[in-house]
């Protein structure tokens, strides 16, 4: 059965994305610290950077990152994650993921600039643009996933919309043991999620705390 899955980063104080981005460093100066353990894994090296030489960490962090890529049949993301809001009005802008995005599935981009034609990319990724309710885009993505899982890829506001709507079967948060004090807050308004989902906690060799909510 198709499950709806989300993987997110957070700091210990609950910030899931960072502020202060510039055109040179669009994710902001804290992003590297927030995602360092993820970027160090062998799976990230292989699946995102295309480095198949076997470099990268292979412990607990890597096992979660590998699971993130496993069994996904369709992806949903917000407009910022597709395009970084860098070129919102450019109909030729194909996102910031390069010619071969690391998805390999249909990707449904929630954007107020829909409708626009789909963009097929190399490696099996096709970007589709939708301006619909989360339930409707999920129904379409579930159909496209063909029995595999649907991943809500982010950003934080998109992920929180699916969480608040009660649509998420599996949430994994990779918590870096750092205090950022600023950014987009992850946990607000999610009281009770630990009552509807089973919670597991695990610490990796890097000190990263992995928390999962599963139903």
């Amino acid at each position: 059965m198709t499950r709806v899955r989300i993987d997110l980063f957070a700091s210990l104080d609950g910030y899931a994305s960072t502020t202060g981005g510039t055109s040179d460093n669009p994710m902001g100066e804290d992003w590297g610290r927030l995602t360092a353990a993820y970027a160090a894994t062998r799976t990230f090296h292989e699946r995102v950077l295309g480095d198949t030489s076997g470099t990268g960490t292979t412990g607990i962090d890597d096992s979660y990152v590998a699971a993130h890529f496993d069994g996904i049949g369709a992806e949903i993301m917000g407009a910022a994650m597709f395009g970084l809001h860098a070129f919102p009005d450019d109909p030729d802008w194909k996102g910031w993921w390069g010619d071969r995005p690391p998805f390999g599935t249909p990707v449904y981009v929630l954007t107020h600039t829909a409708p626009r034609p789909p963009i097929p990319m190399q490696g099996g990724t096709t970007f589709h643009f939708r301006n619909t309710a989360v339930e409707d885009v999920l129904a379409e993505a579930t159909e496209a996933a063909g029995g595999l899982d649907v991943r809500v890829g982010g950003g934080v506001s998109t992920a929180r919309a699916f969480l608040r709507a009660g649509l998420v079967d599996h949430l994994h948060v990779m918590i870096a043991p750092i205090l950022l004090g600023r950014g987009t807050r992850l946990w607000d308004d999610l009281r009770g999620l630990d009552l509807t989902h089973k919670v597991t906690t695990e610490v990796a060799e890097s000190g990263t705390i992995h928390v999962t909510f599963t139903r």
Copy 2:
């Protein structure tokens, strides 16, 4: 050398104390869930409840709780932790800790109703009342500790005042994997604490996440 130590509870979403307290349940309905793993330990049974029969958990949670009680020469707390704000104007009110409080040391209570005479209790605890800056009460408590550590017992606002002033050598937070969505926020304004302190993370058998900041 005397260290300044703090142990706190927090929910996964960063609430360190709870709301909605009543006279029957002064800590509020969430407090039991926030502190369940702590209250289950053998050390809590022994040191706080006076139950020396050996009941209670003995794993990782208990090792942190035992460390909390170890090597303390003086305690500092806020007025709410002494008196629960239940009887703020009653000079005969001796707090809510019973005749034999579980401290066994001098306890410095920060309160705007100081000066008032000290209250000696059974078992070595004496409550002293002070209305001074955190640095001044810390100097007095350090002198009284005679080379042992000073514990800032809480509540959260008192603990945060010492943290923001850069006075804390060892912070241990026992994070329950629950989302409360309300209460007093622990982490606000502590950006950078992970840069001045070494951070460790560990998960107990109960699922509780133990995070320590040490310098």
